[in-house]
């Protein structure tokens, strides 16, 4: 059976209809639905209490830094466990690889300490 590209046109129509219906119902219901706006109603919900100031203020990055460092060294410990279990099988070669890995992380660790990244005051 020979089929041309034009035979697939109904599928395209079906697709357009399906997408069009969804898009139309979303937007038209939003346009037609009754709404009541007021200054008080459109405020952020703060349990009814008048909000003071703006939430978009800069705050200390220290907590984030500590959290990221924790994740980093946490992963390092995860890598240490299988190495410790297979310590004898991996031998000298494993030892060298692990030391390289740990030195890389330790350089980062000393860099943080030098930069006073862990000092809270």
């Amino acid at each position: 059976m020979q089929s041309t590209q034009a035979d697939y046109f109904p599928i395209l129509m079906q697709f357009l209809l399906a997408v069009g219906f969804v898009v139309m119902t979303i937007f038209v219901s939003g346009l037609l639905g009754p709404k009541r706006h007021s200054k008080n109603k459109d405020k952020n919900f703060e349990c009814g209490i008048e909000s003071v100031g703006n939430a978009r203020i800069p705050f200390s990055i220290k907590y984030f830094l500590v959290a990221i460092l924790f994740v980093l060294f946490d992963v390092e410990v995860i890598f240490l466990y299988p190495w410790a279990v297979n310590f004898r099988e991996m031998g000298m070669q494993g030892m060298i690889k692990m030391v390289v890995f740990m030195i890389l992380l330790l350089i980062g660790f000393f860099y943080i300490i030098k930069k006073k990244g862990l000092e809270w005051e």
Binding site: P34, K35, R36, S38, K39, N40, K41, K43, F45, C47, G48, I49, E50
Partner: protein, 182 residues
């Protein structure tokens, strides 16, 4: 399920035939609204404890379509004010009411919310209808869960019979304006 005690909401009046059922839109909307009232509990004292019993398994307010407690006014239809509202609390209550999505209804539960109750003092609001319009008053100090359920059922009657145009009528705007709510 012959032995189940589940009641299905009754269909509104209408014309039914083979494969079709025709009725008024306002009836269907009312039916849907009345059986899915999402409560926003505003509990400040002992009536709130009674409401906790009402929404727990024994009295089970979920049987009336109020399954989900909403703690944001944006997705709530029914504000339940339970307890003494001090005058300092009044603007907060009003703000919560104002931020509810339309259509919204209010049940005032207990003597304090209805009229100030025994707290006839300078610091207590003498009834929440001083700051927001109230649809149903539930008396009692505190009311039993059955009474709260009765209040919800009375509100369901109101919701069922409410016209879909009521919220855009001049009377409603006037009512809100009398409370200084735009």
């Amino acid at each position: 399920m012959s032995d189940s005690k589940i009641n299905i909401a009754e269909a509104p009046e209408g014309i039914s035939g083979e494969g079709f059922f025709a009725t008024k839109l306002s009836d269907v909307v009312g039916l849907a609204r009345a059986n899915s009232l999402w409560p926003l509990p505003f509990a400040t004292s002992c009536c709130g404890i009674e409401f906790m019993a009402t929404m727990a398994s024994h009295y089970d307010v979920a049987r009336f379509g109020s399954e989900r407690m909403s703690f944001s006014p944006r997705q709530a239809d029914m504000l339940l004010v339970m307890g003494t509202i001090a005058k300092k609390m009044a603007p907060i209550l009003r703000q919560v009411y104002e931020q509810m999505a339309e259509p919204r209804w209010v049940i005032s539960v207990g003597a304090c919310a209805c009229s100030g109750g025994i707290f006839d003092t300078y610091s207590v609001l003498q009834g929440i209808d001083k700051v927001i319009p109230v649809d149903v008053y539930v008396p009692g100090c505190p009311p039993r869960p059955e009474q709260i359920l009765d209040g919800i059922m009375r509100l369901q009657d109101l919701v069922k019979s409410e016209s879909v145009r009521r919220r855009s009528s001049p009377e409603y705007t006037e009512l809100l304006a009398s409370y200084n709510i735009k």
